[in-house]
């Protein structure tokens, strides 16, 4: 299982661990774990719209933090449920850059089973680390 929700470190909020062989895959899994808190049937979200995203940060941890917050931003600002279709992370002058094509569609209550709003990514126990099998992240979302 590439991500798992945790009940032991947050009650009112939602915590998850995600892990993947590459950093790009970790970003995908963390995005899915975040969006699944809000949409029960994520598989029903159609790739009707795409959006290009480029973010730069000093390290992996802050890059994932910004990346997940960007998905949360579009949910409120444009009512879009987005997931990365393509994603590439490369070193840059100031650290790391992620370039992603996000795809998804506007929230449609008749087809999307909505759950609970994610308000923010918190810094509580937040960690992105390299492990022997690849990468691992622990994230607590404020809901």
């Amino acid at each position: 299982m590439p991500f798992e929700y945790r009940s032991d470190i947050a009650h009112a909020d939602v915590a998850f661990d995600a892990w993947a062989p590459t950093l790009e895959e970790l970003f995908r899994e963390a995005a899915r774990a975040t969006m699944e808190v809000m949409v029960e049937n994520l598989a029903q979200v159609r790739p009707a719209q795409t959006l290009e995203l480029k973010l730069e940060q000093e390290n992996e941890e802050m890059l994932l933090f910004d990346f997940l917050n960007e998905l949360i931003f579009y949910k409120d600002a444009r009512r879009l449920i987005l997931l990365p279709a393509d994603i590439e992370i490369s070193p840059s002058d100031n650290g790391l850059t992620v370039r992603a094509t996000l795809s998804g569609e506007e929230i449609t209550p008749t087809r999307h089973e909505m759950r609970t709003d994610v308000k923010a990514v918190t810094m509580l126990r937040y960690k992105v680390e390299q492990v022997p099998q690849g990468w691992r992240a622990t994230v607590v979302l404020d809901v």
């Binding site: 947050a10 949360i72 409120d76 600002a77 089973e113 759950r115 308000k119 923010a120």
Partner: protein, 486 residues
Amino acid sequence: MNVPAALKRISETIWELPASYKEGMLVPARIIASEKLINEMDAGVFEQVSNVATLPGIQRYAYCMPDGHWGYGFPIGGVAAMDPGSGVISPGGIGFDINCGMRLVLTNLTAEQVQPKLHQLVDRLFARVPTGVGCHGFIKMKGDDFRSVVQQGSRWCLKNGFATQEDLDMTEEGGCFPGANASDISQKAVERGYNQLGTLGSGNHYCEIQVVQPHNIMDPELAGAFGLTTVPNQVVIMFHCGSRGFGHQVATDYLKLFLSVMERKYGIKIVDRELACAPFHSPEGQAYFSAMKCAVNMAFANRQVILHRIREVFSDLFHASPDELGMRMVYDVAHNTAKLERHLVNGSRKELLVHRKGSTRAFGPGLPGLPECYQKTGQPVIIGGSMETGSYLLAGMSTGGDAWYTTAHGSGRTMSRHEAKKNFRGDKLQRDMEQRGIYVRTDSFGGLAEEAGAAYKNIDEVVEATELAGLSKRVARLVPIGNIKG
């Protein structure tokens, strides 16, 4: 049981972790709870309230209220007052949902009058008050209009026909924190928020139709002063929501800014990154204080616009004006804020920056800042219980000074959302609740299951603990009959 061995019992409902409990604690940490509630506290409360005690400038004690539970940075239920001269401001002491709060509104209708139309009432509220993930509001505005909203709060609503002067008088700080400057908020925050004015949101946000049954009135005199006893089985409306995506973005923006300057520029080391902070009088601290006020004002305006909608629905359904239906506000209280207030410290009045996160200001009688009509009673305090069990109206007490006149804010969770979803099914819960006389409409059965009453502490025990600790007095218990939930 998670209670640390170092925890000392000070009185029946006050428990203390001494400053020697953890390296860096500047003051002891105090938890308000009965013996049963303290034994049920999750480990996060002890860890986080003692972390709060390490923050620069903290005065007297770091507090946690009896509904306390695991938060981020501060525990939910956390309270800390800082010396503004030497202390810090921390978004972790306020929360992402800035000025999440409660509003209680009276009617002169009885449960007997409302029952035959209850389904219609709840269905219409559900149709007219936008709820759920990413919901947008019914007021179309541009970014510039929204900047006026966040600077003026409920005053913007008054100018635009969504409020009465009495509504503003019955709102903490008159529905507007002065000193909110829209130049301190990001374009992103504006984009996230300007479509969301007048929306409830999801999670634990709701609007509830409740009944004041005569046997649930604990203090008839105070209940009368708060307008609760005009008719037997009086129907009241309680709702809970905050500053929506706007406030969440303000908090995220400044959490990142504080993390980047805290140690590098100000040499402050903290034990948990969620306690990121900056000196109150630094440029960053002042910018956040102003941006936070913008979010506070957005939340006041949000609840005011929702009240306007609720009045419309009642008016249409019961063929009478809101005035004729007696739809007056009891009060509006804020949960997640930091405010400059004057309190007694070592015998003299001092200005302090009071952080309240998942806790409620509960001014006792005679304190400045209360409207004239509540000068003798103390401040009405609105405590939202779980949707299955009931809620409370309390009054601030003159003995609450030690905890900076603060009390609990709700029941407090005991079960994680994930666990609740495994244990309960939303559709079944909805049917069961209807059999018990509570008609619920929701956007999300999954979300409904997460809010099951059994996922929360016992509200009766929580409010009793606040009364025994001298923080807030029970006035009445309010029983739900209808609920709309995001």
